[in-house]
Symmetry: C2
Subunit: 246 residues, 2 copies
DNA sequence: CCTGTGCTTTAACTTATGTTAACTTTGGGG
DNA sequence: CCCCAAAGTTAACATAAGTTAAAGCACAGG
């Protein structure tokens, strides 16, 4: 029963079989949501967080004149808006990109899990830290990278995250997002995203066949994305903290 | 003893006098740091978070070719990198902008505080949620607003945050950041920031005398910043959750 | 009170990216 | 299997913002 969430947590923290069993409670009562539907709407009150099991969603904010910024993609294993528990109103909207399978997470469940195992508490906290790192890296990309670098960065980020939760197939992954959505994530126009993707393809860095995209040259995409080092996404827990949890 | 942090927390959660007294432990052993020094360096291990009492810092990432993105400003009352407790390596650097007074926060202290009062636990969590909201709003600004809108947004954000911790003087606040730093926060060139600030001044929206800047027309700066509603920064805790904490 | 160094401003010019619009491809429903 | 709507591509042209450079300020240190 390696759900995407458990796969991700296990990569950061050494979980016991009992922990893994306990965590499966978060998959209870799965619901479905059609592509295009809003899961969370900016300004609305919420009382539960959302754990996505399958499918993609995206967190975004749309201005009154239609300009839209996609803040990040919500992939299988991601938890949306754990801040629900302390701030009643969502600041941003989350919309399903594909059909979605998800569960609502109520504060009680989290409390129960965390009380039972400190490893789970740390692991869930780690997830939040990881998300924060993703958002900040995204901000750097949008603020200071060229269009070419930004698109390379985005593809690398998605591929890396999908690999982490076991949703990539080697160098390939299913890409449900339209170029317009990619543009809104990268802070570019869709025309320019198209130009840039073709260039990455022409240069032999990526390959696309239908909705299956491939990172042909992982080294060069990292270089293009200005990822000079391994700093960009959160690192696993240190041995020292791991020891303390035992 | 209304420290900036306590002021901010009290605005979100109803703290008892005992809570406030307990929180003052976070101000113990204040240290100083000269302007320009790095408090936290990307990729380095850390073992404590940083609570800033006085002065400004900024969180940033600098690429190998010198391009720099400022992710956010760290103002009095802000806690830097509470994620230390779960991810050993900082993903980004934090540098002092002015001379700084700060305290290191060790995990033990936080644990102790939170155990003592659930209100403090929720309040500290709220701070994190608030920071996340700031970063996301910043991302929207950098990704989708024009230069004029972005600079307006940034000034509004700083003024609002300073007001929240009692560091603004009515419509005015001390601005220690150079235009180059503002440019790196807004994802613009410093020349264009200069042009834009002059325009905001010419239009009677802001006024600057030396390092004291004023928001002359709060309504128009909000309009310029595309803040259509009150969604942008986190809202205080709901009555319902407040009740539960008693 | 001078002086130099680092900010800020302004102007002239360049460029990356946006816009518009036409054409092509893709894929789902009848 | 065909058709239509939606997504992607390409080209020509427009523009917001970047770059370079030079001049004006402002304040810290002598």
């Amino acid at each position: 029963m390696l759900t995407p969430l458990i796969r991700k947590l296990a990569r950061a923290v050494e979980l016991t079989p009992a922990d893994i069993k306990a965590l499966s409670v978060l998959g209870a009562n799965p619901r479905r949501c059609a592509a295009g539907h809003s899961l969370i709407e900016a300004g609305r009150r919420m009382s539960a967080a959302v754990l996505v099991h399958a499918g993609w969603a995206f967190r975004h904010r749309t201005l009154s004149d239609g300009r839209r910024q996609v803040m990040d993609f919500v992939l299988p294993g991601d938890i949306c808006e754990p801040t629900v528990f302390v701030t009643p109103r969502a600041g941003f909207s989350v919309q399903a990109l594909t059909e979605l399978s998800y569960s609502l997470i109520r504060p009680e469940d989290v409390l129960e899990l965390v009380t039972r195992s400190p490893r789970i508490g740390v692991a869930l906290w780690w997830v939040e830290a990881h998300e924060e790192a993703i958002t900040r890296a995204h901000l750097v990309a949008v603020g200071r990278l060229t269009a070419y670098e930004r698109v390379a960065y985005l593809l690398w980020e998605l591929w890396t995250r999908l690999t982490l939760v076991g949703e990539a197939e080697g160098d390939g992954f299913a890409m449900p997002a339209s170029q317009e959505l990619i543009a809104d994530a990268a802070g570019l126009s869709y025309v320019h995203v198209s130009r840039t993707l073709r260039r990455l393809e022409r240069e032999g860095i990526i390959r696309r066949s239908k909705r299956l995209w491939h990172i042909v040259d992982a080294g060069r995409i990292q270089q293009a994305a200005q990822l000079m080092d391994g700093l960009h996404l959160a690192t696993p827990l240190s041995r020292k903290i791991q020891q303390r949890l035992k």
